[in-house]
Amino acid sequence: MTKQEMLEFAEAAVKAAGTLDAVAVLTESRNASVRFGQNRITQNLDVFRRELQLTVGDGEKQATVNSQKIDINALPGIASEARGLLATSVPDPEYMSPVPEGQVYPVIEDAWDESTSQCHAAPRMEAVGLVIDTAAENDLLAAGICRMGYEKIALATSTGNLVAHRSTSSGLSFTMDKGLASSYIALNGTSWSELNTNSAITSVTEQVKLDEGAEELEPGDYKIILEPQATWNLLMFLPWVMSARAADEGTSVFSGMEGKKLTGENFTLSSSLLGGRPGNPFNGEGLPAEDVVWFDRGILRNLPCDRFTAKKTDRPPFFVPDTVDMAGGHGTVEDLVAGVDRGILIRRFWYIRFVDQKTLKLTGMTRDGVFLVENGRIVKPLKDFRWNWRPLELFSNMLRVGTPERKAAGMVPPVVFSEQHYPFTD
């Protein structure tokens, strides 16, 4: 659908609701991907979706209907169902009317690439063919996914706000294996053309060889070097648990910590709508996004805050606009390794879960490449290990921060942390 068609449909849904309050969100997406494993294609997809979410309210209670009947003639039925549901609902002491009229939304043009939105099959097949053929030529087994697609969203409120946004995304991530040795890379972009697939294939092919003959890590003290992918795996837990409401309820590590120093001064975390990964200009309620600094040189400055909590506690209503950047410095992974006398280089984490939410203690495993570093050089591959760490403690002890790279939802750097004692469990 065109932008105009989507806006008109969302507006028509609000009108059809016929209730005091209404918010309609219409999404359309196309996702095309090729998945491969064992040097063969295992999935080959091209999926098209449309969905309407209609939330209605009468000033004290609300109800929501989601439907995939995207047809102007279906709107009366969807609206009728929503009103029927509303009639059975009960008053909500936290009821919030839709955002007032006159909201000003940021415009983010850089989120769209026309060619990527077309989801042509040939570039995917070419890239996957190159990965598979290179793996086979080197007696390796490749597995991964190559994807491209788009999402369009239009939102209308009964208070008169009307806005649309569209974005494209692309990605190529894969492992190559030789026996128990493996390596991995993940490329993410807005357009397909910005992915450097040839360089990625060369890098992963070479890295597998370095991982052969992994040994157990000996107990002792080691600096920890994270490649950007591992930094992202760890960092992503922060936006997940950052919540003003949870902090107020006392269930979060951030309870009573706003304005206090929680990490080292070289740790800054922010969301920038026009950053390395373009953000979403509004949320599902029609609240405009804005640039926010969450941690400023170690000090917790802001927490995401729903509109009710914001009103109750006199905070600004913030949300994470699907993009988070960790401030970096200068230097590649190789540069960081060169400055470490004794440490462990980690490419990627796996299955990170909470051990204790109140103290934000996490557990996880390494995978697809762990190396012992001595005197600025990788000296041998190591077997995967388990760790139980508190990321806020780690980010309080960063010795060096490298140049950020784009990962799934933002820009993150490679990092060197001060010594940790192995075994990394209690």
Partner: protein
């Protein structure tokens, strides 16, 4: 819906694909969520669409659309065929043989939950939520009733045509207590069943509010875990997750083939281990059962249209067979699929998923207390908590939802922040006691994430209380 499927199948036959199936699904979901004793979400979600899977020259093509519009389905058929052709010969797909399947399957549902008024559901949750929030130290509570009606029709170019209708019901409830600078939760965790409102009544959610409140308070005020090598008594709800991670995932055939190496991971097992690898003690019998009454993977047929089957994954401690789909069965050296092919919905490509499976309980009259009576120092764990396992499914660490210290055969004090670590074959090898089958309890899981693009899938696991010897326990503070 049936006409739409049959029409798309006819088009595929006219095009002349090597194989094609058309899967139409209409899924109606109803949520009623309470947070902190207020109605937070009152919602219905209707997901409908058609997925078209074709094989051309050994390569898959899959396309899907939302809605049941004829033109959108036609466009999806065209896209599926186009991308299968674009893949050339890189697929190499060969499907295990299967007789033509035709029929209708309806899951058990005594009382249609969609016929119960929303007012009654709200009243039930309101009461449970108020009960949880009676103590001011309960700072957060959640209560939910979730229902889904899933109608599915699959037809194929071979002449298969199956129709299924399933109703899923799930109660959920959790209280979080804050005291002494700590926060601890207690939750109702039995999960979902293919059943109607009768499961909500049987689950006891109406009386769980008080239990969750009191046990969350007991937990937040409890001592922290001791550390060291100890014996464990684990209940069925806890073991449901342990077996899911350390038995269900490693015995998926696509992992053994390396197809999940980039995302969900690999497995410590290989094809040659079928029939000979010792997975656990002689007491360990894992029975996979996609015919299990109320099991959330009991769908009549999987998305390959393989009928629900029952088989041993582990028998007398020995690993028997990987769970497979038609595409992987031959690669695993088997003649037929075990029927483990399922997609999240019509807009997803069906992949190899875990079946329902459980630790077979004995009829021995043994009580959980009998098991504990033989323990000098150990921990009694109920329910699920923290969980993590390596991508080869060997090295794991689990918590729980409720903990008691055992001294000299008796439960002596509640604990919190207990975690234990082990490795898969050693852990199941340390099992030396299982309580009678009357203590058997299942958990129906709706959110097993796997695949790229990520899909969630459903399966039911279960066990009676079981005893494990000499496990490493550490504090989770």
């Amino acid at each position: 819906m049936k006409q739409l499927v049959q029409r798309a199948v006819e088009i595929l036959n006219d095009i002349g694909v090597d194989y094609g199936d058309v899967r139409a699904e209409l899924i109606r979901t109803e949520n009623t969520d309470f947070r902190n004793a207020r109605l937070d979400d009152c919602r219905t979600v209707e997901t409908e669409g058609v997925g078209i899977r074709v094989l051309v020259g050994g390569s898959w093509g899959f396309s899907a659309c939302t809605g049941m519009n004829k033109d959108d389905v036609d466009a999806a058929v065209e896209r599926a065929v186009d991308i299968a052709r674009a893949a050339g010969s890189r697929g190499k797909v060969e499907l295990a043989p299967l007789d033509i399947q035709q029929g209708v399957y309806s899951g058990p549902c005594e009382i249609d939950p969609f016929e119960i008024s929303r007012e009654d559901k709200i009243a039930l949750l309101h009461k449970a939520s108020d009960e949880m929030m009676k103590d001011p130290r309960i700072k957060n509570s959640f209560a939910q009733l979730w229902f889904e009606k899933r109608d599915r029709i699959i037809g194929s170019t071979r002449g298969d045509l199956i129709e299924t209708d399933l109703v899923f019901s799930q109660p959920a409830l959790m209280a979080t207590a804050v005291a002494g600078g700590d926060a601890q939760s207690r939750a109702l965790q039995d999960g979902a069943r293919i059943a109607g409102w009768e499961w909500i009544e049987k689950s006891g959610i109406g009386s769980w509010g008080e239990k969750a409140r009191e046990e969350a308070l007991m937990k937040v005020l409890a001592d922290e875990s001791p550390s060291g090598e100890m014996d464990l008594i684990l209940d069925g709800l806890h073991l449901g997750l342990t077996m899911h991670e350390s038995v269900g995932h490693p015995t998926e055939s696509d992992r053994a083939l390396g197809w999940e190496a980039n995302m969900a991971g690999r497995t410590f097992l290989d094809i040659s281990h079928q029939g000979n690898l010792r997975y656990g003690s002689d007491m360990v019998n894992f029975l996979a059962d996609n015919t299990l009454p109320y099991g959330v993977a009991t769908w009549g047929w999987d998305d390959d249209m393989v009928p629900g089957k029952k088989w041993y994954t582990v028998k007398n401690g020995i690993f028997q067979e990987f769970g497979s789909v038609r595409e992987t069965a031959l690669l695993m050296g088997k003649k037929t699929s075990t029927g483990c092919c399922r997609a999240m919905n019509a807009q997803c490509f069906p992949i190899n998923r875990q079946p329902n499976f459980y630790l077979e309980p004995p009829e021995n009259g043994v009580t959980p207390e009998d098991l504990a009576s033989d323990i000098d120092h150990g921990i009694w764990i109920e329910g699920r908590g923290s969980f993590s396992i390596d991508q080869r499914r060997e090295n794991f660490q689990f918590g729980g939802d409720l903990f008691w210290e055992i001294r000299n055969g008796k439960k002596v004090r509640p604990l919190k922040k207990v975690i234990y670590r082990s490795r898969t074959p050693e852990f199941w090898g340390s099992l030396d006691g299982i309580a009678d089958k009357k203590y058997f309890r299942t958990m129906g899981l709706l959110t097993c994430g796997k695949g790229e693009p990520m899909q969630s899938a459903r399966m039911t696991h279960g066990a009676s209380y079981s005893r494990f010897r000499g496990i490493e326990v550490g504090g989770g503070k």
